[in-house]
Symmetry: C2
Subunit: 291 residues, 2 copies
């Protein structure tokens, strides 16, 4: 028995709230990993729950979050960011001693703030962000290997129960994830830089090409650079709004970069332009080689 299995063995029942791509993949992934507890899928739409059952993502389903919470040792919140607050409110009503609560939200400061506002004992809440996804959504796209060899960020705080944090880490490790701990603030700032700003930039590039023209001659470079612009708009809007401050800061840094490039071009500083391009290439190549 591995250390992860050992730490998860006291979880006799796990409730996954929201059985979309993420929730469904957690269920089917845990089953494949040999998780011994019962897995209950919680959702509002009967149709999604039926699909989750058919795809063997969960052992049982319910539309009653309260029932599921009361009988579970652990709850994973895998709903859209926009309904986290009301989900925490409902969990709070049926919270019980020993219940561990975690989530899969793409931003962490607002999620942690919502947890603090609504949960009676926030020490048993451990924020998590498994950095995995797909352009597809819904439980029919769930895959047991969605998380394998990817990174999960866990954001415990000073008052977080250590056992709860270790149990949540064990859960993600059992899905073959590399677990990294950082503060919610660090998570959100870094996510703005490497995910939320790239999503925004992809949308900007599409708008610009549409305005100036040229889509009829656009090719693979444009396709790759703008792929993120095809992401789900409501989900992206929720994430951008939830991480507003960090994204606004990243936009300021983007403007500084524009000014750097504009300066080098306007003044015909070929050396400076080369240095700027070479530094970006070196940083990106080193990063790509390391992952």
């Amino acid at each position: 028995m591995s250390e992860a299995d050992n730490q998860l063995s006291h979880v006799k029942q796990l409730a996954i709230v929201g059985v979309g791509l993420m929730g469904g993949s957690i269920g089917t992934g845990l089953r494949l990993a040999g998780f011994s507890g019962k897995i209950i899928g919680v959702g509002r739409r009967r149709e999604s729950l039926d699909i989750a059952m058919r795809h063997r993502c969960v052992d049982g389903v319910t539309t009653n979050l309260g029932d599921a919470v009361r009988d579970s040792d652990m709850v994973i919140v895998a709903v859209n960011l926009g309904v986290f607050a009301q989900t925490f409110q409902c969990i709070a009503e049926h919270d019980h001693d020993g219940l561990i609560i975690t989530d899969v939200g793409s931003t962490k400061m607002q999620v942690v703030a919502d947890a603090r506002r609504h949960l009676p004992d926030v020490s048993r809440f451990v924020g998590a962000h498994p950095m995995a996804g797909s352009e597809h959504s819904g439980p029919s796209s769930a895959r047991p290997d969605l998380f394998a060899n990817k990174t999960c960020i866990i954001t415990p705080e000073a008052d977080t129960d250590d056992d709860a944090a270790q149990t949540v880490a064990a859960l993600w490790r059992s899905l073959q994830m590399r677990v990294i701990f950082m503060s919610p603030k660090e998570h959100d700032e870094k996510s703005a830089a490497i995910s939320h700003l790239p999503h925004a930039a992809a949308a900007m590039l599409v708008h610009i090409a549409n305005r100036i023209g040229g889509l009829e001659i656009a090719s693979t470079g444009f396709r790759d650079t703008t792929r993120l612009a095809s992401s789900n708009p409501p989900m992206r809007a929720d994430i951008m709004t939830a991480n507003r401050d960090a994204l606004l800061h990243a936009l300021d840094v983007l403007e500084q970069q524009i000014n750097t490039l504009r300066g080098a071009l306007s003044a015909n500083e070929q050396d400076k332009l080369m240095q700027w391009l070479e530094q970006a290439k070196r940083t990106r190549d080193d990063w790509a080689d390391s992952v």
Copy 2:
């Protein structure tokens, strides 16, 4: 015999100046397409010429551009943008009646201006930009199908000889390219929007991630969005400098986009943010479906 073959049949010898990825692929591609003339590779480095011969990109090689020009019916300039002017100067010294001159440069206004400045009869110069490439370079990466099913933009002007333009179009069509005609100015403005700005944005995103931090948690979205930052810096610097005005304009439009997003975020205008994201997704999905 196809129309393209017919229009190329009077080209008894073709000189390709610069036998890198592009020049080499033109040679090996024309051979596969049944081009009947002799193909001469012209270069400054003996080593590249030897590789081009070994890879059967060309029938013969020389380091003497003058000799090659004198004996050819058509010259394709496939060197770096930075050495176009001196290449045109040398071609001018050995120019002769009926010689057709074309190129593969990624920007067109500066190339056409250089041609006007240096060539004795610019009516026989036809600017071209085959929109194909690879992250690899050099004649050892040459592929006969590099251009297949891609777009080639040809930029004749009012005083361009029509036969010359049609012969150049026939050349690219024989390599299975879709040929589009536009003015050098239109080419450069559209290229700034769909290629040069995306290259710049990719470099900016790498610099920003390096500054704010987060590379250790960056994933596939970051990888795709920044792929162009790994391009060859001297080549990109030459292109950005050659297309300075159009790129500066595109940077202005990028700043407008930043202000649009910043405004929607700061004022918490969720509807406006959603609309902005949805419009980008629709434009990009429609484009991706159409190519």
